[in-house]
């Protein structure tokens, strides 16, 4: 048997992610958010390693870092987030910015995690936006780990961080370790 053909409801994945965040931020390390973040990132990292292994089988080896990153932006993203990265920027010094204007997992986190609904006046909206992007931040450590794991396994050692601009858009910054 192999998981390749198996399909599950996407809500499984979503609720698992949400619960993961809840577990580490609220239950295990309520006082140490950075510790929770590190754990979640580690989980993502392991999954990233494994996915890279799976998704790249039967395909020619990438000849350079850029190819690997493109792979992440296209195929990997498509597999995991059901779309491709909208925009890839680089400074040609080992920093890549992967911009996703509608990051699926941010669109699908439940309302209680992101209380954006019905905030009328400006301040409330702003406040919400802040709280929202903070909350969103918690949900981005896992994908950061995913990306780092995948790239690392493809021979691109790097650090990955995420920036929420305006939900559900967000950008992942990949810094290749030299």
């Amino acid at each position: 048997m192999s998981g390749a053909t198996w399909e599950v409801a996407e809500s499984c994945v979503d609720s698992l992610n949400m619960e993961l965040v809840a577990t580490y931020y609220k239950r295990l390390h309520p006082t140490k958010p950075e510790l929770a973040a590190r754990r979640i990132e580690a989980i993502g990292y392991q999954v990233g390693l494994q996915l890279a292994e799976r998704y790249t089988r039967d395909r020619p080896r990438f000849s350079d870092h850029l190819e690997s990153i493109k792979f992440i932006c296209k195929d990997f993203w498509a597999e995991v987030f059901k779309k491709q990265v909208d925009n890839l920027k680089t400074n040609h010094k080992g920093v890549f910015v992967l911009q996703d204007n509608r990051f699926r997992w941010l669109t699908r986190i439940s309302v209680d995690a992101l209380p954006l609904a019905g905030a009328q006046n400006e301040s409330a909206v702003a406040a919400n936006a802040v709280r929202a992007s903070q909350a969103a931040g918690q949900y981005l450590y896992f994908p950061c780990g995913l990306i780092r794991g995948a790239l690392t396994n493809l021979g691109v050692p790097c650090g990955v961080s995420a920036e929420v601009t305006t939900l559900p858009a967000c950008a992942f910054v990949v810094r290749i370790k030299v």
Binding site: S2, G3, Q46, L49, Q50, A52, E53, R54, T56, R57, D58, R59, P60, R61, F62, S63, N153, L154, G155
Partner: protein, 143 residues
């Protein structure tokens, strides 16, 4: 006949090496596989230099030893797979297919949450699958 199958990590450390001959001295296979890493490196760097065969994962015949033929395959994640066989006329397709299935087995083994990446593969299921792949070697793309 396949006499040895090996999986080598991206640090060129052996992840899995199994011989399929009764001869209890597997030492020589370790030597053969280890040396084959040189050839793999040569081939990879060559194909880099002159973009020939566009980084195919299948590296073909690495070299014959006094008794065997050694074939190689390198995944995108720098995992090397080595096949040692006694046969002298092998169908290229068979070898490719073999490696594809071996790689598949490895991928699943690596997907075991309890497998620590980069560590030697101790999974029984993997061994099981590999010997299965070895058994059905050459019978088309069986199983």
């Amino acid at each position: 006949m396949i006499v040895c199958v090996a999986v080598v990590g991206h640090n060129n450390n052996p992840l899995y090496l199994q011989s399929f001959v009764d001869d209890d001295n597997t030492l020589k296979f370790h030597y053969i596989v280890h040396c084959s890493l040189d050839v793999i490196e040569e081939k990879v760097s060559n194909s880099k230099r002159a973009g020939v065969n566009l980084n195919e994962t299948f590296l073909g015949l690495l070299y014959p030893t006094e008794d065997y033929k050694v074939f190689g395959y390198m995944s995108n994640t720098k995992i090397k797979f080595v096949l040692v066989t006694t046969d002298h006329d092998l169908r290229d397709a068979d070898v490719r297919n073999f490696f594809r299935r071996l790689h598949g087995a490895y991928v699943d083994a690596a997907s075991n949450p309890f497998h620590v990446p980069g560590k030697r593969i101790t999974s029984a299921a993997f061994a099981e699958r590999v010997s299965n792949v070895v058994k059905t070697f050459g019978f088309g793309a069986a199983a």
